[in-house]
């Protein structure tokens, strides 16, 4: 089962096993990880499941669709090169070891 690490802004890591089919967002919600709101619940609409993928990431992630791109312009914490909506990242075995950083604010 792929392990995903969620790093909070204070540097605390929470590592969870995320069973497929599941997204990085739902993995956080199922494990009650603070810092992912996901108000809309995964429709790429609210922008409150924003994460920064680790700068050093080499694991394969799905390409960003233009809807996600558009929503990322409205996130509460500033968008960076590594910004993604975690609801748009379905977890696969190839993503084992993924590290995502949680932003300061989601709304």
């Amino acid at each position: 089962m792929p392990k995903i690490t969620y790093r909070s802004p204070d540097g605390t890591d929470t590592v969870v096993d995320v069973a497929s089919p599941c997204t990085v967002m739902r993995g956080a919600k199922l494990h009650n990880i603070d810092g992912i709101e996901a108000q809309c619940g995964g429709s790429a609409q609210c922008g409150t499941c924003h994460v920064y993928v680790d700068d050093a990431n080499t694991l394969p992630l799905p390409p960003m669709h233009e809807v996600e791109d558009d929503v990322l312009y409205g996130t509460a914490s500033p968008r960076r090169e590594t910004s993604r909506l975690s609801c748009q990242l379905p977890v696969t075995d190839a993503m084992d070891g993924l590290l995502v950083h949680l932003p300061e604010a989601q709304s």
């Binding site: 108000q39 995964g42 429709s43 790429a44 609409q45 609210c46 809807v67 558009d70 409205g74």
Partner: protein, 409 residues
């Protein structure tokens, strides 16, 4: 009517109560809900279809269920919670509201870029004009006026027509037919004729956009399909247009009328809103929560056995997620029956939850914000023209609402 197979986990000896229930007060839960909330997950029989299905009422339970990949929104399942005996096309001609997984994602994305928060913000000046024009028209007539017909129905219809790229000279056609379908003053024959005419026009519209594409949603959806190389037919486009038109019209119209009535019935809250225009954004959220017009409009089917809320929902069983009950969860919304505009948050489930969360939520929010800012600013003496208790309600309708809202000033 022959009842469909009961949920496998059901106690087949005792038929569960028939559903939906009546609200009585439009801003309260039906009297039967508190007992259902106690159980969280319980069973009912749908009056019109005879289907025995599960209802889920807990705020957290619903959020969990609506993000569970073992739950389907497809109308194809035998026990999909239809309120009536559904004709076969109701199971197939749905567009993305009735799709799962990749098919859902791909289809929804053809429309989604029009409805992101960033794109919707650009519509503000035009929606302000549309709202002003309709207020002007009301003010030009002698009160009393039926606000539901003069304002709540035509405003969102005009907005969605513009987004879909329907030419201006056809807007009156859609407003007239939309009112015939939803206004409550027409016969079954008139409603059927309206459906036939609207459908014929949508077919024409698709051909028009093929010949002369514009900057509208429909033209963009076609271009996206072409660019993606996915197979698609005119039926796919037709179903998407009809879905967006239904979703963008009746819901917003109902919310405008119910929210306006709620403000007029809570004068202390209305005074706060008039005194502080900044209050309108939380007010929109609180009024959506209080009304939860789509309470009975979130149907699903279990694809596997799901243990939840102390019950096992069996594979193939139908489920209704009752947002009105969830939006009365006192742990999430203390004193839930009270209207407190200042506490409004986006936590409510008034737009559903999960991948099928209302695609037009941000558009609806903007329309409602502009409506309630302008309506009371421009008509500060607006009031009901008859006692609220006498105004007829759409009891048992999938989208709850009022049939009329007589107002004066």
């Amino acid at each position: 009517m022959t009842p469909r197979p009961s949920p496998s986990g059901a106690d087949s000896e005792t038929a569960p109560p028939t559903f939906p229930y009546q609200r009585g007060c439009p801003f309260s839960m039906p009297a039967e809900y508190p007992e259902m909330i106690e159980k969280d997950v319980s069973q009912v029989t749908l009056t019109g279809s005879g289907l025995r299905i599960w209802t889920v009422t807990g705020y957290h339970t619903i959020r969990q269920l609506l993000t569970d990949p073992r739950v389907s929104a497809s109308r194809k399942h035998d026990n999909f919670p239809f309120y009536f005996i559904a004709p076969p096309e109701f199971r197939t001609e749905t567009s993305f509201i009735g799709y799962d997984g990749e098919q859902h994602t791909k289809t929804r994305r053809k429309a989604a870029l029009t409805f992101t928060s960033r794109q919707v913000k650009k519509l503000r000046p035009r929606i302000e004009e549309i709202v002003d024009e309709h207020i002007d028209r009301m003010l030009a007539t002698a009160p009393p006026v039926d606000l539901h017909h003069a304002f709540s129905l035509p405003v969102p219809m005009t907005v969605i027509c513009e987004l879909l790229g329907i030419p201006h000279d056809k807007h009156d056609f859609f407003i007239k037919h939309g009112t015939a379908l939803l206004g409550g003053h027409s016969s079954a024959e008139e409603r059927q004729a309206a459906i036939v005419e609207v459908n014929a026009y949508v077919d024409d519209l698709i051909q028009l956009k093929k010949r002369e594409p514009g900057e509208d949603l429909l033209s963009r959806a076609m271009a996206d399909y072409e660019a993606s190389g996915e197979e698609y037919t005119d039926r796919d486009l037709f179903n998407m247009v009809r879905l967006l038109m239904n979703g963008g019209h009746e819901t917003t119209a109902s919310q405008i009328s119910l929210g306006t009535a709620c403000l007029l019935e809570n004068p202390d809250q209305l005074e706060q809103l008039k005194a502080d225009p900044e209050l309108v954004k939380p007010a929109v959220e609180e009024l959506i929560r209080i009304a939860t017009i789509g309470d009975t409009a979130v149907p699903r089917v279990a694809l596997e056995d799901i243990e939840i809320g102390g019950q096992v929902i069996r594979k193939g069983d139908g489920i209704l997620c009752l947002g009105l009950a969830a939006n009365r969860d006192p742990e999430v919304f203390p004193e839930p029956e009270k209207v407190i505009l200042s506490r409004g948050t986006r936590k409510h489930l008034g737009f559903g939850h999960g991948v099928h969360h209302c695609i037009g939520a941000d558009l609806a929010r903007l329309e409602l914000e502009i409506v309630w800012s302008k309506l009371f600013q421009r008509i500060p003496t607006l009031r009901l023209a008859k006692p609220f208790a006498e105004i007829p309600r759409k009891e048992g309708a999938v989208i709850y609402g009022l049939w009329e809202l007589p107002v004066t000033w």
